[in-house]
Structure formats: structure tokens, C-alpha cells
Amino acid sequence: MGLFSKLASLLGIKKKEANVLFVGLDNSGKTTIINKLKPEDAQQHDVVPTVGFTVEKFKNKSLSFTAFDMSGQGRYRNLWEHYFKECHGIVFVIDSTDKLRFAVAKEELSMLLDHNEIKRKRIPILFFANKMDLRDSVSSVKLSSMLKLEDIENKPWHICSSNGLTGEGLSEGTEWLSREMESAIKQQN
């Protein structure tokens, strides 16, 4: 069964659904961002470090998202791969103030891109350079060159600065992601 055939079959019947995997190091702000994307009444007040994963749902104008919010702590990162197979898009969140660990983030990213389930697929990847509000944050341009994003082959990618607390930059990112995922669907047809 093709990757997007399920998705495609739903075209036009109901709002299209897509599985999106949220990964990135711990404390980067994945859960905070997802929380902000959820409808206001479903938002949580306090966000605690994730253990394992949770599933959340949210929508934008064109798509219905099922987000797998993975835990970023070192000992749980090897569990991400269990969720690679079914995802239609990946969101990689980086704490743009955590310069010390950029190298770690880069390492995790290249392992992700190199994974069998991901390698040959044209899955769009969205990068959030999160915590843009903090003074010592690195700009998205600088971050993208530090992570060598331009080396990514065969996958559309996009980076934007974000603020998980206020929601700034989030819609720009998700708009891009849904466009990419939709066009992937069209290509399939």
C-alpha cells in the first residue's frame, strides 16, 4: 500500500488527515508548540517533559493533523523509529538558544534522515528554530547553515523561527507543511 494512498482516498470526502511526527531534543519545545496548535479549549496549562510519546490532534484550514509528540530525552530517542513508517511529515524542533547541543541535534537529524524508513521517501521536513524570543537565540538562517540543511537530498524542507509560548511563526510553518503534504498526495495520483 502506497504511503499516501490512504490519504488520497480520503480526498474530497472529509478534511484530509495527515500524520506528523514531532521530534527534536528534549526541552526544545515540541509539546509546547503542539499545545499551542490545539484549539484553545483543549490546551493544557502546564507542560511537563514527555515520557515516551503522546498523540494530539489539531487542524488548520486545509488539513487535519495527527501529531505524534515524541520524547526528546536521550534514552527515548531510539524509540522514534517505531513511528517513522506511518508519518506523512516530520517536524524537527530545535531550541535555538541551546548552542551547546546543536551538534547533538545535527547528529540526531542525520540518523533520522539515514533511517531505512525515511531515506528513500520524499517526506517534507519542517524545522522550527524555536524560542526565538530569547535574547541569545540564533537566527533561522544561521541555524540552517549550522545544521547543514542544504545538504538534505530528495526531501523538501523549510525552516522558520518560532515561539512556542505565543504561537508566533507556527502557522507559517504548518501552512508550508500542509502545502507540501498535499502536493505529495497530488503527485501520487
Binding site: V51, G52, F53, T54, V55, Y76, H82, E86
Partner: protein, 970 residues
Amino acid sequence: MEQTCQKSSVNAAAVEKNKKDDVRQRCERLHKNIAEIQYQRHSMGIDVYDDFMRYQESEHRQQLEKQQKYDAKQLMKFQERMDIHLGGHFEFVDKPTKHFKFEFIPNGGGNPFHNLEKSSVLQEARTFNETPINPRKCSHILTKVLYLINQGEQIGTTEATETFFAMTKLFQAKDPILRRLVYLGIKEMSKIAQDVIIVTSSLMKDMTGKEDQFRGPAIRALCSITDNTMLQSIERYMKQAIVDKVHAVSSAALVSSLHLSKGSQEVVKRWVNEAQEAVSSDNIMVQYHALGLLYHIRKNDKLAVTKLVSKFSKHSLKSPYAYCLLIRIASKLMEEEDAGSESPMFDFIESCLRHKSEIVIYEAAHAIVNLKNTTAKELASAVPVLQLFCSSPKPTLRFAAIRTLNKVAMKHPAAVTACNLELENLITDSNRSIATLAITTLLKTGNESSVDRLMKQISSFMNEISDEFKIVVVQAIQSLCLKFPRKHNVLMNFLAGMLRDEGGFDYKKAICDSIITIIEENPEAKEAGLAHLCEFIEDCEHTVLATRILHLLGREGPRTPTPSKYIRFIYNRVILEQAPVRAAAVTALAKFGAHCEELLPSCVVLLERCLLDTDDEVRDRATFYVNVLKQTQKALNSTYILNGLQVSVVGLERSLHHYTLEPSAEPFDMKSVPLETQPMVEQKTVREPGETVSAKPSEKVAASRQDIYAEQLGAIPEFANLGSLFKSSSLPIELTESETEYVVQCVKHTFSRYMVLQFDCTNTLNDQILENVTVQMDGAEGFDVLKTIPCPSLPYNKPGTTYTLVRLPEDPQLVTGTFTCVLKFIVKDCDPNTGEPDEEGYEDEYVLEDLEVTVADHVQRVMKPNFSASWEEVGPENELEDTYALSTMKSLEEAVKQIIQFMGMQPCERSDKIPEGKSSHSLFLAGVYRGGHDALVRAKMAMTEGGVTMQLTVRSTDPNVSEVLATAIG
């Protein structure tokens, strides 16, 4: 719709027909097979006959006929059942090693999960990964997975982990049924899959979420995947959940806490305030669970538990379940304190007899009846309650009451006879479990004349009750047999009948156990019992039972009046069974050859046929036995066939290991291996019928107490070269009176030339610490005290050990002596609260009781299954004989007991049991004397007016040993 209905009924008819055809075919095959088997048997019989059993022809033919009849009957029985149960089919299992075996396999009576296959179900479970989720389909598949796990299907870690992660994707679906199945799935798989903590956050979200119906189950699932390291992170949520206003949530949190506390008592202890709050909940379940947790947290603190009971017994709890728990706690406390009816706990329990809830009343009555110190006085209040329940219209109450009475029937017969009228009514109860318990209860308390009537009643519905209750009946019969030895015929036949019926392993084992016990207790029942067991192994699918019975036949068969009749049964096993049974049969055959001269040639012929067996063990055994038997030497037969290995298996393993570690030119010396220690008192507990059968003693080869001592002593460098430990005295000897300042017990460890005295000391003064503690020993002639190993420090209430090493006298005849003992130490006073000792101490001493070294300390008990063979083996060379008048002994029993104790030897051939009404008796004792000399004692005793006269004959491989033993009594 209608169409499909019709179609399915047509299908059903076809299926039915197919089934009938199937059954017919199977029957035909069965017939054919049985004919074949009979032919096989027959030819085999002729074989046996030709070769060596001419004189047995007629008996043999009878046996064959009997067997044929039995086979035919079996077949008919099965056919009958086939007709009744056309809803199923017979599976014919034709094992090469067995004659035949067929099982009835029902179709599963509409169970949609019948015939599920693990691999295909797990394959289906991959559906969970698909998006979007189809909740109905996934629920169905997940149910199948759960069903398989609950059926005991083993799922490997990799498979389980894959399925588990697929299942985690189902968290996307909001469907409540599916979600709750996922919780169950998590719980079931938490122990078999890896990385199950992956669902932690998801569960925590549900546990704190808005959906009340998710919260409780999420808590339970969460606690099943949480280990100690994660516990802290969920602590806050657990505390909140315990006091949640939703009862289901609170209950789930309480019960989960209880489970968690098994791993980490410490964290859960911190939730005591929340638990306390939950006890006052107005929901009966929450209250019960909260009390349970509270008790669990405090259960190691006796004072706190006492307070708990007295507080809540006054407080009037709302929940009857909580009351029941409180009653249990109270009776446990009474048990621990060895308290009687004067205890306030008892008042509480008794007051519960007047509670308005039946379950509380029953719990109280049950507790009182089962109290250790219950007397007629306490029973007087509880028994009427049970009596009333016996005639209740509710079957649960009748069952509970009769079960309780059944259990205590032996202990409190009076209580039970008071209910006889009610019990008689229950005999015909439509609930067979109740009827079984009623009858077995009556059997236990009734007299000999009622046995026949009750047995008849039982046999009328024996095939309607479950194995578990059949075992109750078996045990009742066993105790009856021991109570009324004269009835053994009726009862034994009944057991034999049960042995022929269908039944699982536990049931069959219980029957065999009972027959064996009866044989051992009652020599008159021996031949009949052995015959029944012989018949049983002819068609026994349980290897354990078959080998056990073969072992018994080998031991007992040769000594019956007609040993030859067992040979055929044993040799049949060699032909038809699997390797372990064949090996056991070979050993049994060898025993007949070794014991019965007239059967020797035949046995050798039979054993020679096993020399080419496909199994190594069988072949080796046969080769060994044939060679030993051909020597025709009594001594060899006794040592290598009839009386077997006498060393401790654990000890042998250790000695061999040691030997391989330190290679030496000398061959391995069996004498250096510690002997197997025989338990002092025979620990045969005649199991109370109705007691849980599950509490089986472990059958593994356990390290004995002495093996443990040997290891402890071996670890002390000073004792490293004493040689191997020969004997440790069985019960510690008290050298102080109870409740003194210091408590000292002594264990004597005998080596071939030394003795180590182990003194276990306890300091019961909380304001003192003793240091450099030793025991000074003096006064025994010929014994040299060589060394003491002090106990460096003896703080309050922490036992410590000091050792004294003694060289035994050179004179081989000088083996007994009395030591005076003084405990020497340095006292340091200390603060009772902190245990902080003073800098300075002072020397002090404390006089202990005298310590005796007796003859028994030099002798290790050894079991000789065939005493007369050993007696011949040792021979009359060093025989000593003397006659004694034991004027102080008032009975033969007393004399037997005293002599065993004096000699420290093992009674053989059950000669420690004196048949009732006998005025003379022979006691056979066996042992090994220090240094590895076999020692045997035969004591012929007769009761006379002036006490007991005894002729004592001692045989040994060493003249000095005979001398020592012969003069031990004097």
C-alpha cells in the same frame, strides 16, 4: 438474511455429517489399533513366556484377558461419549512409545476464538499501524491478542514488542471501547514487551484528562509499566488520584499503589495520608481498598497494626469488605501473638458474628474456627453460625460453611458432629461441590460403620465433579484408610477405580500418593496396592508417576511372596515407554535380580535385551546392572543395586567440582563426600483433605541444612583443612535458659578427627555491646581445645557466632565427654537509643550449661532401603551382641525412641513403627560412623513385666565402631 440462515443450517447439516463420518472412521481406526496392540501384547507375552516364565502361563493368560476386557470397556466408554458429544471430535494420538491415546476435543461450543493461531493473530495486529484507524476492526483483533495471552500462549520478546508498538498507535483513536482494550493490552504485555514506558505520557494524559471512564483504567495500566526509577515522576498524580472524588479513580489508584509497593515500599509509604483520607470515603469499594493499602504500608509495624484494628473496629466502617479485611488482620495478629479469647482482638471478631452482613458474619466465624488456640468455648459462638449457613437457601453460603467445617473436621470433630443433621441433608445437595464436601466431612468424623454407606453415595456422582473435588475425596479416603485399617479393601478398590477413570495429572498423582501412603502404613494393603499401581502404569501418560511407581515396585516387589508377577509389568515398560520410564524400569528389574535368586537368570536375560537400547542412560544402566548381577556377590548387589548412593547430591557436586579444580594423582574418594542427611523426624504430613493442593513441597534437590553449614565453615580459613564435614547436630542445643541476658545455642560439627562447636549468641541487653566474645571449654578427658574464633562484636539483638575447635581423642574407644562452658567477653556500656558505646570496656564472663558429646555425634544417619541385604553385606566379622534389661522403659515405643536417639542412627524398613498390640519387636538401624565405617544395629525387644528386654546386635566394618556402639547403651 433468511437466505444466509438457511445456508448456514445446510452447512451445519453437512458439517454434522462430516463429523459423523469422521467419528466412524476414527472408531474404525481405533478398533484396528487396539487389535494391533493386543496382538503386540500377545506376542510379547509369548516371548516372555518362552524365555523364562513357564510356570506363569495360566496367570499370564488371565492377565491378558483382563487387559482385553479392560480395553474393550474403555472403547465402549469412549464410543458412548462420542454419541453424546457430537459437538466435538476425537483426536487420535498414536505415539510410537504408547499403545494408544485419544482425547475428546470439543468444538469450543460457539467460542469465536476457538482455533486461533498465534502467528496469524500477530500478523493481523499489524493493522494497528494503518491510518486512519478502524476502531471496530482493531478492537476485534486486540481482543484476539488478549485472548491468546490469557490462554497462556507464549509470545517472544521481539514479537511482543512489535505488537506492543503497533498497539500504541491506537492512542490516536478516541473510541472508548478500543481505548479500554488498549489499557488491558498494555497491562498484559507490560511484562513481555520491551520499552513499554513509551506509553507513559499518553497514560498520564488520560489519567488526568476529562474522560472519567479512561482515568481509572489508565492509572492501572500506568502502574503496570512503571518501575522504581519512574515512580517519583508520577507520585504527585498518584496522590491526587487516591483522593479523587470519582470512586473508580480513587479505587484504581489505591489498588495500583498496593501493587507498586511490592517493588518500592518506600515511595508508597509517603502516600499514607492520602490513604487515610480515602478510608473515610462513603464508597464501600474505596474504603476497602484504602484500608488494604493502609494495612499494607504498616504491616511490618505490629504496634501500628494493633492501633489500626482497634481504631477501625470502634469507628464502624461502612464497607462489609473492609470489615472482612479487618477480621483477617485481627486474626493474623492473634496468631502472631499466640493469643486466645482474652485478647481484645477476639472480642472484635466475635462482635462481628452479630454484624448485619452475611459475608462479615461468615468471615468472623471462619476466623474463629481457624484460630490456632480455639477451644470448645470459642467454638460455641461460631459453630451455630456455620450450622445456620449450612441450611441457607443460598448455595454460596452453604458452600462456604461446609468448606470451613470440612477443613477443621479433624481438629474439632465435636464442632462438626454438632452439625451432623445439616451435613446429612447436604449429601444430596444439587451442587456437587457442596455434596462432596459434606460427604468427605462426614467421612472424617464418622465411624467405621458409616464408611460403606457414604462411599456408595459418593460413587453415584463421582464423574460429575471436577478434579479439584475428586482430590478432596481421594484425601478423605486416604485418611480413612489410616484411621480404619480394616477397611482398606473397600477403600483401596475405590481408589483403584478412580485411577482407571479420566483425570488430570494432579488428580492421578493424588491417587498414587494415597495408595503409596496406605501401602506404607498398612502392610496388609501392600499386595493389593502394588497390583493396582501395576495396572495403572500399563496405561499411564505421566512419566513422573510411572517412574515413581517403578521405583516403588523395585523396592517393595522383590520382598513380596510372589515377586515374579511384577516382572511382566515392569518389562512391558521397557518395551513400550519413553526413555526416562525405560531407565526406571531397568533399575527396578535389576533390583528383582539382586534380591531374588530364583529370578536372577530371567532378569539378566531381560536386562541383556536393553543393552542395545537407543537411549544412553537406559543402555548404561543395563550394562552396569548386568555386570554387577553376573558377579553374584551379595555385597556388590547390596551396595550397587539395592541400597544405592548414600551421599548428598549437593555435596557430591561440590566435592567433584573441588576435585576438578585441584587435580591430584589420587582417585576421587567417595568417602570424602558428605553423606545425605536423613531428616530427624519423618516429615510426613498427612495432608488435610481440602487443604490447598497447590502448596506442594518443592521437588528439586535442595541443599540440606548440613550442606549450608559445610559451606559456611569452609569459608573460615582456620577450618579449611579439617577435611569434609561429617555431621552437624540436628537441633541446636540451648546453653542458656530462655529470657536471660545472653542467649547461646550450640551446634556440633563433627569432622573425621576434629569437632567444631558453633555457638550462636544473642545479646538481649540494649545498653551493652559485647566484644571479642568466645566460649571457653574445659574438662572433657582426651579432648583438646585447639582454637577459638571470637565473635568481634555482639550488639543488642543482632545474633553473632563464635567457634571453638576441638581435637577428638586418639583412643578410638573414647568418644564421649562433658565440657563445662563459659562465655567470655568485653562489655562496653552504650546508649540504648543511639547504640553509641563507651570508649572503655571491661572483661566479664557468663557461665553456660554443660555441653555433652555423645555417641550420636559420631554417627550419621543413613537410609538402607534393603536392610537385610546390607546386613549380609557387612557380615558377621565384627559382630557384637549383648542383652540388656531396660527397666526404666514402660513401653516398646519408648524403648525404640530412646535407642534411636542414643545411637543417632536411621531406622530402616519402617521398623520404628510398632504394629498395634505387639509385645515384641525388631528395630533395624543403619548409619555411617565417623571415618566412613558402615554401622548396622539390630535390636530385638520384648515387653516383660520388669520393663523391656533387648538383645542388641551390632555389625560394622570396623571392630572399634562395633565396640563403641555396643557400649553406647549402658
